[in-house]
């Protein structure tokens, strides 16, 4: 016995060194991503650096989606509900409870935790296609509920969050620079959290569940518990993005709860690469500009009735990705760079 262990030792120590390298590389990669984002802010013209804050917030949404879709293998069609929980948990608290922004962020996060716990608890009784339809239906019910209580939520029209309420720890977030760095800090927190999560025992078990649920169960893992926690983490990250959106851009509206906002994170993640830490950012960046150019084009040449025309691009992108590149950009990159987290 001891002899065989000794024989295995050299290879184990080599592997250990490799593993440490992977850990360092992964940290370096994520630090580099943040550094590039900071550089971009100073290099890019004002219009694009303004967009960057919005992209970062949407990328947090996509990262949240990715925890469930990319790492756990659960395809939800109802993440707009979690985004909206954070957004309205934040916005309604400011509007009606007269609290400060930092308190409202907490209420936003708490409402996302509560909603994702309930939805997770119910929806996880189903699998596969039924799970997709159930999440879609709950999100639709949530969207309609926002419309139903239009007296408070102002429905599709939404409401503006006043400048006075958008001050966080003394920083006025209506200032572009403050807004960008606030978005960046939030993004960085979420990015490092997700990178840590997927490297942890829990994250690796999620991948095991994605790959072979039955086998994971027979290794003694409580599948339902893992999935529920994954839904809650995913929903809370999405809710954080929703609250951040309301805080940074001063607006909450029912359109963020509509079905398009459940489809968009799926699209971002598919495009960027499901089950990779940087995929969601890449996907959001590309899709944002694709949609931005289309809307600019359509608003210049088409009447305002055609404002949803960008969804045509989204539709084409969905079909093309499903057909030809189900792994997305980062997935293709991973074929060359195996250690990509």
């Amino acid at each position: 016995m001891s002899e065989s262990v000794n024989k295995a030792m050299p290879s184990a120590s080599i592997k250990k060194r490799q593993r440490v390298n992977v850990g360092i590389r992964s940290v370096l990669l994520h630090v580099a991503v943040i550094a590039v984002l900071i550089a971009l802010y100073f290099v890019l013209p004002e219009y694009h650096s303004g967009n960057l804050a919005r992209i970062l917030v949407l990328a947090i949404f996509a990262m949240g989606y990715n925890v469930l879709f990319g790492y756990t293998g659960l395809l939800s069609l109802g993440h707009a509900l979690f985004f909206a929980s954070g957004m309205y948990g934040f916005g309604l608290a400011i509007q009606f409870l007269d609290v400060t922004a930092s308190v409202a962020i907490v209420t936003g996060l708490l409402s996302a935790v509560a909603v994702s716990t309930i939805i997770g608890f119910l929806a996880l009784r189903t699998t596969g296609v039924a799970f997709m339809i159930v999440t879609l239906m709950f999100a639709q019910a949530g969207y309609l509920t926002i419309l139903l209580f239009g007296d408070y939520t102002r429905g599709d029209e939404g409401f503006v969050i006043q400048r006075a309420d958008r001050i966080l720890f003394g920083f006025d977030l209506t200032q572009p620079a403050n807004r960008f760095f606030c978005a960046l800090i939030l993004f960085a927190i979420c990015l490092f959290f997700v990178a840590w999560l997927v490297h942890s025992r829990f994250g690796k078990t999620l991948v095991g569940i994605r790959e072979n649920e039955e086998r994971a169960e027979m290794l003694g893992y409580d599948i339902q518990r893992h999935k529920l926690i994954a839904v809650i983490i995913s929903g809370t990250l999405s809710g954080a993005a929703g609250a951040a959106y309301a805080l940074l851009f001063g607006y909450a509206g029912a359109s963020f709860a509509a079905v398009q906002y459940s489809i968009l994170p799926l699209l971002y993640v598919l495009l960027g690469g499901a089950g990779t830490t940087i995929g969601p950012l890449i996907g959001t960046l590309f899709m944002f500009y694709l949609i931005d150019y289309t809307s600019e084009f359509s608003s210049r040449y088409l009447p305002s009735d055609f404002s949803s025309a960008y969804m045509l691009i989204a539709g084409v992108a969905l079909i093309v990705l499903t057909l030809y590149a189900p792994q997305g950009f980062a997935g293709l990159l991973r074929r060359k760079v195996k250690w990509l987290p």
Binding site: L122, T126, V129, M137, L302, D305, L318, T322
Partner: protein
Amino acid sequence: MDFGPYLFAASLEGAITAAVLALTAVGLSLVFGVMRVVNVAHGEFYMLGAVLAWWITSMIAGHPALGFWVAIVVAPLIVGALAMLCDRFILNKINYDPERTIVATIGLLYVIQQSTLMTFGPEARPVEAPFNERIALPWLEPTNAGLQVIWPTGLSTTSYKLFVIAAAVTILLILWLVMTRTRIGLIMRATQLDQEMAQAHGIDVNKVYALVFGLGAALAALGAVLVVPIQQAYYLMGSDPLLLSFIVVIIGGLGSVLGTVVAAVLIGMTDGIVSVFFTPTLAKILATLLVAFVLIFKPNGLFGKRRE
């Protein structure tokens, strides 16, 4: 109007909703039953049927009825052919993988919807009914002298509305005969039961799938052509039928055609009555929650049998 005649009028309207819904939902159910595919773009095929009906009737000069009769044949055929192309070049390419199919049909939904917006425009456009005589309806009123036939003012329907109900029933009957009595129906059912076995018996499963997907879409389009003289064609008109079809198919038991028809009648008939008591938004919230909870707690539908 008294409550009795009012309820009668409401259930007649409900019967029209039920008839069109049954056609649309059976299309969705057939596709799910045979191919195990959830077609999220189903509502858009419905919408295309209505838009094509407008397009065809506005192209054909002469008697308005002529355009309609051409439309009711041609529009479903075009939609069915388009759906077969989608099957061939999209669904077949991803091997009908359930999750990827849903993602792809969501893409299809937006492509069809937005392309229609760009070509057809954002307006709602009417289609003239081929015939539309007003028919007053009688009501039996209990009086001192026993039951008496009265003709309450406002209690009426049109010949076209009655035609819609009759046409839908006829089409469903034909479909039932095709499914149970013909070779093609047998092939479809064999494929539904066991795809690999069907393939082993020399059935070209790819062809059957294309045909079923086309047929499902054509049924939705047919429902839309029937309803468009009552409702007008509009590029966003596909979302409500999609939701209602989902409800019907899920409550009726996924893939069960008979369950689907029963559920369609039930939902269609109650739709009008429910909206009397609730705001439309609240009614929709309840409907979506109903779908979710049926899937969670009774995954084989309210009438479905338990499968081991």
